[in-house]
Symmetry: C2
Subunit: 635 residues, 2 copies
């Protein structure tokens, strides 16, 4: 009856928010436990070992390669709308996808040649356009797509697990949010993207997928390439329109996200870096093509269609291996690789956000390194956005896919145009060939972007097409604000120096007790005019205070104000306005607030936080200096 | 696909939290719109008109009378576990409930006689026990039960609406949370409990229920008192144990909550107040008994059993009136009355919390009156707790019922024992009779408390039985903290006076610009020693700063600190420790932080809030005075 899991999701989201606040004292020890000891800045510059390309391959390919687990299925899901007779179309669609992969890899190899120190779409666009807009289009599209990568990869991982263990089905959303939470902690601890340990699960998954494809062919040699379940090839069922085919193609294209990782990471390769990076691109292209084609072919032969609760991969594995140990191992390795893909996206997102923020287009907080030298704010923003998507779409991969891929293809297109401009400008050896390759790349990726945007518009792409311009516009506004602020704050140190003014200190007193004593001791130690202000809620309390103040020997002048509305704010604010009018501009008005600090944090709940609220209000609306004098309770 | 309603719930809960924060500036205009203009304290003392008892009756009885809508059904739901053949037991169970109602009303009339100025269980217990524990048991139980009243009443109201309009069924939880949100706003605006307008819906609902009962009897006269659907009377189905019967009785007892309202409100009656209150109690007892008996009887005759999505009331109405206009009117009036019941609970809860908080047993914030003179914090706490219950139990009335009623009966018992002690102490006319009535009351309510606790233990009562002691223990801890704080803060004004010390002002500078200029102008205007501190992240930046400082003509001494961990906090904290050691205890260390305030609120996101974090940390861990010098950005 109790919907504890719905609560758990909320708790996890709250915990994420708390992590953001964990820089503050109270959670310091919790934070230390979760994240680990802080690391000094110099740790940044200790060079990590550079990687042999065969090791770099799996490390950099988790994102691209893992998407074979959901790409073909997403294509099938679209074809399912016109019935099983359209299933054969998954074959030409996969062939088109592989061709697209080939073109993209060629284009990206050109990128590696152009930017040996690593160049993502943002860097390429920034370098080759005068205006900042193309670079912003590229970065915003990638950031949005990274969020979707995390949402899709984790959802797909969980959905595969739920196919193996149906008991998990009702808890998919909660589990997905939980996985994000774990990834945040891992990433805040700072696992390097290049950690060799990440190579093995991906290798293992690649080997598993190749094994599945080989077992499939053996099966087909024994039982025939056309089996009872195989749908007829080439039939044109009613309702099959070009739109349906393009929509299926758009969905299948989601297998191609993550291709940019290698070109961003050229410096982690062993020398000769460019050559090794290119070698890795080609190897990755071959193995991904083989897997996509083989997997789709077997899906077709066995007439596998979309069932809620059982992924296509799980159905295929069950045909070959039953639900035995081999099935379990492959499902687990799929899960692990999809989570690794999400993990590497965390690093990519936070690094890209930091680069863009350093240029002033995003809040500067994204450039701050956390305790473990990771860009914590980017990590947490990504986690929050991906969690929100997962909760809204209830971890449904095929519902998330329509939002996906536009971003990546848009960024691809911008980067390719950038490269075109570069080849024209710089020329260099064989530049016509390189130009030609990128020209084909530009045309194809632009076309795919258009296809995805149009065919997926109504089922979700519109969300991205609304959000992207918003992000770009805010980026421009942010940059303008930074520039304006810098202008305003600039002074000429030769002509402008600090000047002394008359300071009037206003001490807020609530009675005569130790906290007030402590505050007045401080106030009267300054060389300023001091006046004490008491706000009473009725005449009686004001008379009382005046009498007691006199009995105390009037440590300074006392002003009493009456509040009709039980708020200290109004009379105090009126009083300050009166002072401002009387004293003119050159005067510093200085409000001193007593505040007592309990020994135990929960005791804060027991005391009115009026000093805090007052401070926040004065800060925002008045030009007064505010001092808080703490009194630390002993008990 | 999109679970927007789950999101909406979260949004509403967040909005509730924002309302708590709405005292702060940014939301001031929103708050004004929702809550209305602030009211002066003197408005409290304008006497409201006192009420004729027949008008007071419906106003004070919404809580008790509305529970006929769910009480008998909750009993039936328990009996349903042993099959429809047990349905006849609802008749003896309702008779027992009515007897219990009679005993409770008699006992409460004794309470009215003893405390003519209005005495709830808390007041009675506080007045008649030396220890504070019984009073705390009473208040905590009532507070917990008020929360449940809101959750149950609103859920029941929504479930009845959903029975009439099945399209609402998937959105029950969201709608219930939404209703709470509306009630919070209404209550923060400050609707007086005694508003005459509240009389009419309850009158109307009473009339409707009586009409239903009369129509029922006419129907039975025409078609026979035993109809085809009537289950056999007196059969003992397999599995029918004493436990099942007691459990059904416990659930049915939930109809008796809210009975204490009249005894709390004696002062709103016209003179002679006590006599009119007693008259009202008797009238309410008669009409509630008639309704409970009649309603249960018709439920039995028509063999109505529990169906998800259709309340028993809705089923009965459908038999008599179809789904026509009469059905709609009665369902709507049921809804309105249940919401009114929740509304009056808001007032009861916040007033009780304020009384208990005034005695130091709850955070003092509960005694603060909001803009419209209502106890806002109590209102918001109640709303948050009830929303949480509704979300956890998905607005399922029969799942909430087991948690319900223990609290009320526990408070009843404590109050009765208190009255027993009072009669022994004070005696007075007919005291033996009064003592006797309260003795019977004590025994019966104690017994009912025990029955509810035991029979409902596993299905939810354990939650309440864990939470109650926790609340009581924290109340004691809270009171102890307040007493200790008061002791610590007390000073003797004759011997203790403010003393002047040497003040060292430490100004944090981040470079040479207008904000720093502004801050140094203030710092050097105080008559204190001033030292500027610069924290650099590497040697280069430190050298640079030292050079520029000198070029600026060194407005004061500059200390540079190097941070290895990219945090200003560590080096600054170390520096302060060094100062403390050097300067000894008598010294005030005074940290001055520059902070710039953007013109637009969202610009805050673009600037590191390091001054804020630094301030929070220093506050908690260091005994330093902190001054923030604002610089208001012009653009």
């Amino acid at each position: 009856m109790i919907d504890a899991f719905r609560l758990l999701e909320i708790v996890l989201v709250v915990a994420l928010v708390l992590l953001m606040w964990s820089s503050i004292s109270n959670f310091a020890s919790l934070k230390r436990m979760l994240i680990g000891r802080p690391m000094p800045s110099r740790a940044l510059y200790t060079s990590h070992n550079q990687l042999f390309w065969l090791i770099a391959l799996p490390i950099l390919s988790a994102d691209l390669y893992s998407s074979v687990a959901y790409g073909p299925e997403a294509g099938l899901a679209e074809l399912a709308h016109v019935g099983p007779a359209a299933n054969w179309l998954i074959l030409p669609i996969t062939i088109a996808t592989v061709l697209l992969l080939f073109i993209l890899i060629m284009s990206y190899i050109m990128g590696v040649i152009a930017y040996p120190s690593g160049g993502g779409a943002y860097t390429i666009a920034k370098d080759n356009f005068k205006s900042g807009i193309p670079a912003l289009i590229a970065s915003s599209s990638l950031l949005v797509d990274y969020i979707l990568t995390v949402a899709v990869s984790i959802s797909s991982g969980i959905v595969n697990m739920a196919a193996a263990y149906p008991i998990l089905i009702p808890y998919q959303t909660t589990l997905a949010v939980f996985v994000i939470f774990i990834l945040v902690i891992i990433n805040l601890r700072g696992v390097a993207e290049s950690a060799r340990i990440f190579a093995w699960p991906t290798f293992f998954f690649m080997a598993s997928m190749i094994l599945v494809i080989i077992v499939g062919f053996i099966n087909e040699v024994r039982y025939g390439f056309v089996q009872p379940a195989t749908p007829p090839f080439g039939s044109v069922p009613e309702g099959l329109t070009m739109m349906v085919i393009l929509r299926a193609f758009s969905s299948a294209c989601s297998s191609l996200t993550g291709i940019e990782t290698i070109s961003n990471a050229v410096p982690i390769f062993r020398e000769p870096q460019q050559k090794n990076a290119i070698k890795t691109y080609i190897a990755l292209g071959v193995i991904t093509s083989v897997t996509l084609l083989g997997f789709s072919y077997h899906l077709y032969v066995h007439g596998i269609s979309i069932h809620p609760g059982v992924t296509a991969l799980s159905q295929l594995l069950e045909i070959y291996f039953g639900r035995g140990i081999l099935y379990q191992i492959i499902i687990w390795s799929t899960f692990v690789v999809l989570i690794l893909a999400a993990n590497s996206t965390f690093i990519g997102f936070s690094q890209l956000a930091a680069i863009v923020a350093a240029d002033g287009f995003l809040p500067r907080a994204f450039t701050n390194r956390g305790d473990r030298l990771m860009y914590s704010n980017g990590i947490i923003l990504l986690a929050a956005a991906a969690s929100l998507l997962i909760i809204i779409f209830r971890a449904n991969v095929n519902a998330l896919i329509p939002l996906y891929a536009i971003g990546v293809f848009l960024a691809f297109t911008v980067a390719q145009i950038g490269l075109l401009r570069r080849w024209i400008r710089i020329k260099g050896p064989y530049w016509q060939l390189k130009f030609g390759i990128n020209l084909i790349g530009t045309i194809v990726t632009a076309l795919v972007t258009l296809i995805v945007a149009v065919t997926k518009f109504r089922s979700g792409a519109w969300i991205v097409l609304i959000i992207l311009p918003l992000i770009i516009l805010s980026s421009i506004a942010i940059r303008r604000h930074y520039n304006q602020t810098a202008d305003e704050l600039r002074i000429d140190p030769k002509t402008t120096h600090p000047e002394q003014h008359h300071v009037l200190s206003v001490v807020l007193v609530s009675g005569i007790h130790r906290v007030v004593l402590n505050t007045l001791s401080f106030a009267t130690s300054l060389g300023t005019d001091v006046v004490a202000v008491y706000v009473g809620f009725n005449d009686e309390s004001i008379r009382q205070m005046e009498k007691r103040w006199e009995e105390w020997g009037s440590p300074c002048r006392l002003v009493t104000l009456k509040s009709e509305y039980r708020s200290i704010l109004r009379p105090l604010s009126k009083f300050i306005r009166r002072l401002e009018v009387k004293e003119g501009e050159a005067e510093h008005i200085h409000v001193i607030l007593p505040q007592f600090i309990p020994r135990v944090w929960w005791h804060n709940l027991l005391h009115n936080q009026s000093a805090l609220l007052l401070r926040a209000w004065l800060f925002r609306y008045k030009d007064v200096v505010i001092t808080t004098v703490p009194y630390h309770l002993r008990k």
